[in-house]
Structures are given as C-alpha cells and as structure tokens.
Amino acid sequence: MDDSWPERPSDAVDLSIPSEPRSLTVVRAAVERMAKMVGFGEPDVGQIILAVDEALANVIKHSYRGATDQPIRVRFQPTKGPNDCGGLLVLVRDYGKAVDPATIQPRNLNDVRPGGLGVHIIRSVMDEAEYSCPDSGGMQLRMVKYVRSEQAARG
C-alpha cells in the first residue's frame, strides 16, 4: 500500500510498469494518445512523449541503477491551467534511491558530451516539473504541460 499515491480520479489513466527499458515504448504510446485526447498538437505531443520517456529512463538509470524488475507507477491526468486552458498532469513514482530534489539540476549544454540531458529536456518541455521525496520512500516527479491557446482554438 502506498499512501503517497493519490486515489485515481475517474478521468486519469494509471500505468504500473517494471523498470525494464522495453516497457518505455508502451508508455510512449499511451502518453501520445492521452496528449492528443487532451487537445495537444505537434510539436507538443512529441515533446511530452520525450519528457515522460526521459523521466522514466532516469528512474531506471538512477533510482534503480539499471535493475529491471522494480516498480514504477505513472499517471496521466487531464487538468486545467491558467485561463481555463486544458493541460496534462503526469506523475512518475518510483521506490528506489531518493536524492535531495534540489540536487536534480540540468547540466551545461556547452559541454558536448553524451548523457545528463534528461533533466534539461524535462524542464525545457514541461511548464511545471517538481521532484519530491514521499515519506514512504523513493521519489515522485510531478509534471504539467498546458495546451497553448492557439492549439485550443484549433480544437
């Protein structure tokens, strides 16, 4: 029982996946559908998929250090933003190694090297991104992206 995981609202979708990189393609397909349902168009749909994928990849690499049998929970929930615009709330919960959220920072992009780009991508793409350490252990990332007004107008 995880007290930190809020009860699922009727319009939200919860996924429970193992920390196995093969699972990522399934989550990408699900978030693509959900983002389109909420009213996002391109390039936002592609960018939301990328942010969610990067968040999960970071959980696998850092929280679970590559272990492939650990639990990850993901929630996609339609939400409302400023001026009543639509949006998508995404929660990513793991039960691995917790770190101080203040230490999760993007790196300098002038340093051209592989790795360490996930946090930069998440913070660039999403309107809100906040890490926390629930009392029951592990980490939770709460991300939100709002539909831009021109996309909402196109319907």
Partner: protein, 116 residues
C-alpha cells in the same frame, strides 16, 4: 510503425573512406546499445566521413542523441565529419531542445550528404 523487435541498425557499410549508417524505428535507451556496438566496430578505421541516415527513425530519446554525440566526438577527434540525414520533426526537435543542432551537420538528402 516499426515493430519493437525490428532491427534499429538497418545497415552499416564503408565505402571509399565513408561510413554510412542507416537507422530505423525507435532509438531509445533499450535500443541504443545495438547502435553503439554496430557503429563502434566501423570507427576503428578512423573514417573521414560518417553519414547517418535517420529518415526511417520514428523516435529518438536523449540516449539515442548521446550515441550521436559519442560518434560526433570520435569523428571530430579523427579530423572527420559527421553528417545526419533527414531527421523527422520529432527527432529534429530533440536536437533543438538539447541545442545540439549547433554542432550537427544536417542534410535533407542522402546524395547531398555523400557529396559533403
């Protein structure tokens, strides 16, 4: 849509000092090691030009981009050039977000890339 079990490295061949790599499908943290392994084998000859055809790549995450950065650094250290061909809008967007579009040479046509 490419099936997840399909090969992401469709072809790697070396011709007249040019290594041509054809990738396809979804290049994510699951599939990146395959790409790295296939490409590394051909980097031992220190080619002057490496052309990566991305026209059939549907998706790429930061680990896929990291593989291209790894390749970029290797080719550069040999005094060579890395050329990427025809990334789709989503892949191009990853280059832009990570600001790697400043460093990568991107062509819209394979023939043009081979002439570079």
């Amino acid at each position: 849509m490419t099936h997840p079990s399909d090969k992401v490295v469709q072809e790697v061949r070396e011709e007249d000092g040019v290594v041509l790599v054809k990738l396809a499908g979804e290049i994510d943290m699951h599939r990146t090691p395959e790409v790295m392994q296939a490409v590394d084998e051909h980097m031992r000859s220190k080619p002057k030009r490496v052309v990566v055809d991305l026209s059939d790549v549907e998706y790429m995450d930061s680990s896929g981009v990291g593989t291209l950065v790894h390749l970029f650094r290797q080719v550069n250290s040999n005094g060579g050039k890395l050329i990427l061909v025809k990334p789709n809008e989503r892949v191009r967007s990853v280059f832009e977000i990570t600001r790697l579009d400043r460093f990568f040479v991107i062509c819209q046509d394979l023939q043009e890339a081979l002439k570079q």
